[in-house]
């Protein structure tokens, strides 16, 4: 097996090191770090906006760039978490607990350095896992026929429960709405028009890129404008170098968080946000001084950052082997694969082997680029947080419009993106998660085709699924995943984007309240900043400092409320 992997991996490195791929990998890493740093925009929105613009590229550099945005964001997210206590990404929320405490003690530099080193170590080690796991699983899946694909679709749909946030009913409503969207246009097999209302333009269906851009990018502009909160940097950045003691203390944490992050990342529905918290909690249990966690314990920073990066690579295993995205950003990336006619799943490693190995190799290279970008240039990234939102909003808007238009060169797609932007904003207000809608919009076509092909295979109908060992195994897996997810909801285990009142640590929240538009801050009220919500315990009016606790992560569809 080993040699089977090394040969194509070396060829992948040869492809990834070509000037074009290297250049787009670098652009992806820079953009990823940028969106990770900026609290108002996440990797999912960024990938959604850039997805159609990459159509002018070959699939390899395009997907290399989009993937770079995804894992680059994990690096960037820690910068604002450490310097201003505002996690750029949800997955960096636990980093803020100790990272910001370290920054307040004048140790922002070592915290940032350890965060980058841990991200690099975990990212690289988990890529080794991805290199060996993904092709093995894909080889097994080469024997798949329509029933197995149908079973895989069921497995992918079981992820919806994990992506549903607080209300399962609302998550399911969002998922079924995705089917409605996908059914507009011609039937994939018979070519009969459905729900087109006589419009010729709707005959080709609603492009999922318009849906993604609307629900993420345009809805984000509407929601952020509604929130009107601008973060301000206060912390001074001093020396970067961690001490030998810091490295000795954090190395085991890096390894433990890699294992936790990678293996949990293999499970559909386990996002970096969740694994970062689990790794942080595990590290606290392993520590001889657990009471120091939340007060500037460097191992906490290493654990959280290691886990979220390891999960990012782990998430590529089900995506590449089975075509199952484990989180929102990967669901959008799956859309990118489909746009290029690349079908992630068992045949990807056989039909598009050079592409897959170039992608995997580019991730190794991307990790090296990211540590270079994030260690010496951390001061520059930190300054970017000061970019005022009024300047950022038009850039997001223009990119979104060009993105929606460029897929089919039709203004209709732009109007659809605007309509979905409004729907996305409404969904946020009504606490309906939008990610299940995206997932089913992307999967519905494949699901319908695989059902029809399965039913055409004989007289057994749907029962054929249970007569073939692989499809039966996948069905059982889907059932187990569904049951465990439902049990998890029942037991209140923190689910992706739903880590309510996870931490009891108290920490100060500095001057995030814009003076022009004062926000009412008083005990037992939630203080909302982009992506994160804090429960206020005390408000020191003389210093405009809110003492907060009970960190509660904002879920995908949750609204920002004042």
């Amino acid at each position: 097996m080993g040699m089977d992997v090394f040969q194509p991996l070396l060829q992948g490195f040869a492809a990834a090191l070509t000037p074009q791929n290297l250049c787009f990998g670098f652009i992806g890493c820079v953009l990823g770090t940028l969106v990770g740093v900026l609290p108002g925009i996440g990797p999912t929105s960024a990938i959604a906006m850039l997805l159609p613009l990459t159509l002018i590229l070959d699939p390899t550099p395009a997907i290399i760039m989009l993937s770079g945005i995804y894992y680059g964001a994990m690096y960037g997210g820690s910068t604002t978490a450490i310097l201003v206590n505002i996690p750029g990404e949800i997955s960096s929320a636990p980093t803020a607990l100790d990272g910001y405490a370290m920054a307040k003690k004048g140790r922002a530099g070592p915290a940032l350095a350890i965060s980058a080193i841990s991200s690099f170590v975990a990212g690289t080690l988990s890529l080794v896992g991805l290199t060996f796991f993904a092709p093995t699983l894909a080889q097994l899946a080469l024997h798949f026929g329509p029933p197995e694909y149908f079973a895989l679709m069921l497995l992918a749909l079981s992820v919806v429960i994990n992506l549903s946030g607080k209300s399962l009913i609302k998550g399911l409503i969002s998922a079924v709405a995705g089917f409605f969207v996908a059914m507009v246009g011609m039937d994939p097999i018979t070519g009969i028009a459905r729900f087109t209302f006589g419009s010729v333009e709707l005959m080709s269906g609603i492009d999922f890129v318009s849906v993604i851009i609307g629900l993420f990018a345009i809805a984000e502009v509407l929601s952020t404008w509604e929130a009107q909160v601008t973060p301000v940097i206060r912390t001074k950045l001093t020396g970067l170098m961690p001490t030998r003691e810091d490295l000795r203390e954090t190395f085991p944490a890096m390894l433990r968080s890699t294992v936790i992050g990678f293996f949990l990342g293999l499970l559909p529905g386990c996002s970096p946000g969740v694994t970062a918290f689990i790794a942080y909690d595990t590290e606290k249990r392993f520590s001889r001084v657990p009471e120091t966690f939340g007060q500037g314990q460097i191992a906490g920073v290493a654990a959280a950052e290691g886990a979220n990066n390891a999960t990012t690579s782990g998430g590529f295993v089900p995506l590449l082997s089975f075509g199952i995205p484990s989180g929102p950003a990967l669901a959008v990336l799956l859309g990118g694969f489909m746009m290029y006619g690349l079908q992630p799943g068992p045949t990807l490693f056989e039909k598009n082997a050079p592409f897959v190995w170039a992608l995997i190799a580019s991730m190794y290279i991307g990790n090296v680029m990211l540590i270079i970008l994030n260690l010496p240039l951390v001061g520059l990234w930190a300054r970017l947080v000061k970019v005022p939102y009024p300047l950022l909003a038009p850039i997001i808007l223009i990119s979104s419009f060009i993105g929606a238009y460029s897929v089919r060169n039709k203004m209709m797609d732009v109007w659809l993106a605007i309509a979905f932007g409004l729907i996305g904003w409404l969904m946020r207000k009504l606490e309906i998660p939008s990610v299940p809608l995206i997932l089913t919009t992307i999967l519905a076509g494949m699901l319908e085709t695989s059902i029809k092909q399965t039913l055409s295979m004989g007289d057994m109908g749907i029962y054929l699924l249970f007569t073939r060992p692989i499809s039966l195994t996948i069905c059982i897996l889907a059932l187990l995943l569904t049951i465990s997810s439902l049990y998890g909801r029942y037991k209140k285990i923190p689910l992706p984007g739903d880590a309510e009142e996870f931490s009891s640590e108290s920490f100060e929240f500095p001057d995030v309240i814009e003076k022009k538009r004062p926000v009412l801050v008083k005990p037992r009220r939630y203080l909302h900043v982009p992506k994160t919500v804090y429960l206020v315990r005390e408000h020191d009016r003389s210093r405009n400092v809110a003492k907060c606790g009970s960190l509660r992560m904002r879920q995908a569809g949750e609204q920002v409320q004042r």
Binding site: L53, I56, I169, K170, L172, I173, V176, A177, F179, F180, M183, D187, I189, T190, I192, R194, F195, I218, V221, L222, W225, E226, Q228, P388, Y389, P390, L391, A393, P394, I395, L397, I398, F401, I402, Y405, S406, N409, M411, V414, W415, I418, G421, L422, W425, K429, L430, E431, I432, A444, E448, I451, K452, L455, S456, Q559, Q561
Partner: protein, 152 residues
């Protein structure tokens, strides 16, 4: 929130009802094909119906003791409405005024409205943004962006 959820349930009931009715007009069986184009929409419509009823029942009979929360604040609605109008006007502007001119206008408007910067700064940024976007996307990447009445 309960009132909003009830409103959502009722809206979804109407929508899913329309989907079911439309799906019933589509063929459910076609010779040689195991499943007609009407089957999946029908099931999806029925499932949405069921979910809408569940949400309705949950919000009428099984309310959680959490405090009441206002979903739509009139001030926020007005702000979002203005932004949505600006976005829609931008899309319409692209069709009639062309991408370059519409981009310049929307950038100036947004920066002035959101950031309250000086007019000359807004205008300068708008011109730069429009110029860069047109240069990169229309000329460098060869994207056929709409030119409108003025050819911009």
């Amino acid at each position: 929130m309960y009132a909003a959820n009830i409103g959502v349930s009722l809206g979804l009931l109407v929508l899913s009802g329309a989907v079911v009715v439309t799906a019933q007009q589509l063929p459910r069986t076609i010779p040689g094909i195991a499943m007609g184009p009407g089957v999946l929409p029908l099931w999806a419509g029925l499932l949405m119906n069921l979910l809408a009823v569940s949400l309705l029942i949950q919000n009428i009979f099984f309310r959680s003791p959490s405090p009441k929360r206002k979903v739509f604040d009139p001030k926020e609605l007005a702000a979002v409405g203005k932004m949505f109008f600006a976005i829609s006007a931008y899309a319409a502007g692209i069709e009639y005024l062309g991408f370059g001119m519409a981009t310049c206008i929307i950038v100036v408007y947004l920066i002035r409205y959101l950031g309250q910067y000086a007019w000359w700064r807004c205008l300068l940024f708008g011109l730069i943004m429009a110029g860069v976007s047109v240069g990169v996307f229309r000329y460098f990447l060869d994207l056929p962006l709409p030119t409108g009445w003025f050819g911009l």
